[in-house]
């Protein structure tokens, strides 16, 4: 009964989404306030209904209702509760439902936190959001119904793929979806602004917090997914330039570019047309990613052609929304007034350069991802575009970008002084060169790692020296400096932390070139050297888990004769699916990690083991956390919240010059 009610709620949500799309839009055209006000309750109710439907599906998974096809295929009565809950989104239907849930949540958030917006802009925004909701709800109802029943019901389910039975799956998809579905808000804002024809700095103030919100979630989501792959897949790889990963990276790069151009638009009324374009682009790339992942086109172009129902539906949604938005853009963008002027050497100029380089990266990832599909569809020829390609073409763009980031931070708005900016980065340059010498002397090869690590150190120091300089300038002493530091706008901290975080991630990536591995066969009592550590295999045993059995090894990590940690790499066997998975044994020592994974066991009692020492590897993800923290600082900045919160006082308060 609950399940059918959930299904019904989903149908109701679809009807409401249609109403939300049509009525406020008509109201905005007719200037009818009552019709425009329909947007808010429909958006809220749509969210509640989708949430109910989602809850109903979760309920079916939790109570193991095996009369549902979705539960049979993805659950098992002995599965731990957390994986019964997270397993809801571990399959196509459930994950699309989560997608729509986040989409309707975005609509509800706009409805709740947009009272400061002009009524028309708000009505149009929610109308576009409603149209998006209607399209995807229809997709679920027609092609991916998660509530399909089967009779007679089997007495047991087929279980969730063991690799997905992991805390990583419980966190990664919701964060990722908050991120790239979150860009729908900015997309709707942009479409609404184009429909209304009014685009100004106030628009950027409304749009920027939402962009930040989506960007923070996406940053964390990608980092989480990458760490999950790192510890789950058993050899320490964390990024494979797989189309599925690129699908989340493309909107992230576009979103990063958008954050920066929106800053220019808000401060200086410049780059309006470009900012609107990026707002459309970020979510368009999210849609493209959804299409790539959900249509099956990645598995095989031919599989897609032979069973096209879902793929064609998403493709139609994609073409409608991206095409519609771009058509609107082409129609209206020419009429937008030119904004504030600036010299090429200025904060604005630096941000434009940032956008040029980021867009180039984004275009490269998009083309690299789509090229093999297009080539195969057109000529039938199959090629692979993998990590070596992306590394070769992106590193020459990314490293200069990293070099430029702190310089942009140091330039003034409108007209900057390049030599003064470079002079302020003296310390960063000196430390960067020192790092180059130190890494070169300590590690030597590979040169790329040495160079990238030096750039990374410079980037971290350069990003933070902006804070230090602002605090110390003309300050009498440490107390005054501290007071100045605390008095700085939060968005200054935001920029500094986000850039420094990027530097930390870069340092972690560079250090992967200095990893050490030892692939060997061990018996109990044997030891293996890996980097500065000696790994001793102390014990091998077996134990049962909640829904698996596990054979594990206890390994002592020794340094200078002292045991500093013990790790327990294991191999698990899940009887429900007769599937095995390896559990890496990982310990963090300083910023590096020792990582061990078990291979095949031999008749003589020995076992294959892969043991790695990965220096500084945790920085890859710590950097992402710091980036997200920077985003949070910016989001908390009072000046940015004006668009979100009810305007407390009359229009923008005068701000200290920055």
């Amino acid at each position: 009964m609950i399940v059918e009610t959930g299904h019904f709620a989903l149908i109701l949500a679809f009807a409401l989404a249609l109403a939300q799309a049509v009525i406020p839009f008509a109201g905005a055209r007719l200037g009818d306030g009552a019709l425009m006000r329909v947007a808010r309750p429909t958006a809220l109710m749509q969210f509640l209904l989708v949430a109910f439907a989602y809850g109903a599906l979760t309920y079916a998974h939790v109570v193991s209702d095996f009369s549902l096809v979705n539960v049979i295929e993805n659950s098992h009565s002995s599965k731990p509760l957390i994986y019964k809950i997270s397993g809801v989104w571990g399959n196509h239907e459930g994950s699309m439902l989560l997608w729509v849930l986040v989409l309707s949540l975005c609509g509800a958030l706009i409805a709740l936190f947009s009272s400061a917006m002009p009524a028309k802009l708000r009505a149009d925004t929610l109308s576009v959001q409603g149209l998006l909701g209607a399209a995807f709800l229809l997709f679920i109802l027609l092609t991916s119904n998660p509530f399909a029943r089967v009779s007679p019901a089997p007495w047991q389910g087929r279980d969730l793929n063991p690799i997905l039975q992991d805390p990583g799956l419980a966190i990664h998809p919701p964060l990722l979806y908050l991120g790239y579905v979150g860009f729908s808000i900015v997309f709707s804002f942009a479409a609404a602004a184009l429909i209304g024809g009014r685009i100004d700095a106030a628009w950027a103030r409304f749009a920027r917090p939402w962009t930040l919100f989506a960007w923070i979630s996406l940053t964390l989501g990608i980092a989480m997914g990458s760490y999950w792959a790192y510890y789950t897949l058993g050899w320490g790889g964390f990024w494979f330039w797989d189309p599925v990963e690129n699908a989340s990276l493309m909107p992230w790069i576009a979103g990063t570019a958008l954050l920066h151009s929106a800053a220019v638009m808000e401060k200086r009324e410049a780059l309006k047309v470009w900012t609107i374009f990026l707002s459309i682009l970020a979510f368009s790339l999210s849609l493209l990613g959804t299409f790539l992942v959900r249509s099956g086109v990645l598995t095989s172009v031919h599989a897609f052609a032979s069973d096209p129902e879902r793929g064609v539906f998403i493709l139609a949604i994609l073409v409608f929304f991206i095409g519609g938005a771009l058509a609107l853009f082409a129609l209206r963008a020419g009429a937008l007034p030119v904004g504030g002027l600036f010299a090429p050497i200025s904060r604005e100029g630096a941000l434009v350069l940032n956008n040029l380089l980021l867009t180039t990266c984004c275009a490269t990832v998009v083309i690299g991802t789509l090229y093999p599909l297009a080539l195969e569809a057109i000529t039938g020829e199959k090629i692979s575009v993998g990590a070596p390609f992306f590394n070769t073409v992106l590193i020459p763009i990314a490293l200069p970008l990293a070099l430029l980031m702190p310089i942009g931070q140091m330039l003034a708005w409108k007209r900057g002084d390049l030599s003064a900016a470079l002079a302020r980065l003296r310390v960063a340059f000196v430390i960067g060169v020192a790092a180059l010498a130190a890494f070169g002397a300590l590690q030597g090869a590979p040169y790329l790692s040495v160079a990238a690590a030096a750039v990374a150190v410079y980037l971290v120091v350069g990003s933070l020296s902006d804070l230090a300089l602002r605090a110390n300038a003309r300050a009498a002493g440490p107390r005054a400096a501290l007071a100045r530091l605390l008095g700085l706008p939060l968005s200054v901290f935001g920029t500094a932390f986000a850039h420094a975080g990027m530097g930390l991630t870069l340092l972690g990536l560079a250090a992967t070139g200095w990893g050490v591995e030892n692939i060997t066969t061990m018996r109990v009592g044997d030891y293996a050297d890996v980097g500065p550590y000696k790994i001793v295999l102390e014990e091998m045993a077996a134990r049962p888990g909640p829904n698996y059995s596990e054979s594990y090894a206890v390994m002592a990590v020794r340094s200078n004769g002292q045991t500093v940690a013990r790790i327990e790499p294991a191999k698990r066997f899940y009887p429900a699916r007769k599937t095995a998975r390896t559990e890496a044994g990982i310990v963090t020592l300083g910023l590096g990690q020792v990582y061990a994974a078990l291979g095949e066991g031999h008749d003589d009692g020995s076992i294959d083991a892969r043991i790695y020492y990965k220096p500084l590897v945790t920085l890859i993800w710590i950097g992402a956390l710091v980036m997200a923290l920077g985003g949070a600082f910016s989001l908390a900045d009072r000046r940015l919240r004006i668009g979100v919160a009810r305007r407390a006082a009359a229009p923008a308060l005068p701000q200290a010059a920055e």
Binding site: L98, P173, V244, L356, T359, T360, Y371, L598, D608
Partner: protein, 158 residues
């Protein structure tokens, strides 16, 4: 979720032997220099049944076969290029994670340059257009008189 799907695909390839690992100890070549070369080549060869994974990373049985094939060539004294060509001759360009330069991949390899050059050109054009459009008009004599009346020195002409 996207990664989940990928992992599903991987899992399909992984189902076979219990806990098999990429590069097993038994596969390694005796000569460390040869082994290092084999590893370097392997990271650029695709495990054909996986999604964008190199044979060096993959646990799939096919990846293991390819690693053995590659090492056999290296052990026989093949150069890096010969060993790679040997695999490509059997599995086609699809096996190369770094697509070869050829007419069909021109746009792929050229993409970053085209994007960068196109973007830079568009920026330059926009900048010039804007400078022309937004150059402030000189003050008229009446405006100057008004300024003088207010006690403000008129800006220099230019």
């Amino acid at each position: 979720m996207k990664r989940a799907l990928k992992i599903l695909a991987l899992a399909a390839a992984l189902l076979a032997p219990l806990g098999a690992q990429a590069v097993e100890p038994g596969e390694k070549l005796a000569d460390p220099a040869q082994e290092a070369r084999a590893r370097a080549i392997a990271t650029e060869l695709r495990c054909l049944v996986c999604q964008n994974q190199s044979i060096d990373d993959s646990d799939a049985p096919l990846a293991k076969d390819l690693r053995m094939l590659l090492r056999e060539q290296i052990r026989k004294g093949a150069s890096d290029k010969e060993a790679r060509d040997y695999i490509v001759a059997r599995y086609g360009d699809f096996v190369l994670l770094r697509p070869p330069f050829k007419p069909e991949t021109l746009l792929l390899w050229g993409a970053p340059l085209i994007a960068l050059a196109g973007g830079a050109l568009a920026l330059w054009a926009a900048y010039r257009r804007r400078r022309v459009a937004a150059a402030p008009a000189a003050l008229s004599e009446a405006e100057r008189a008004k300024l003088r009346a207010l006690g403000v020195e008129g800006p220099d002409e230019g």
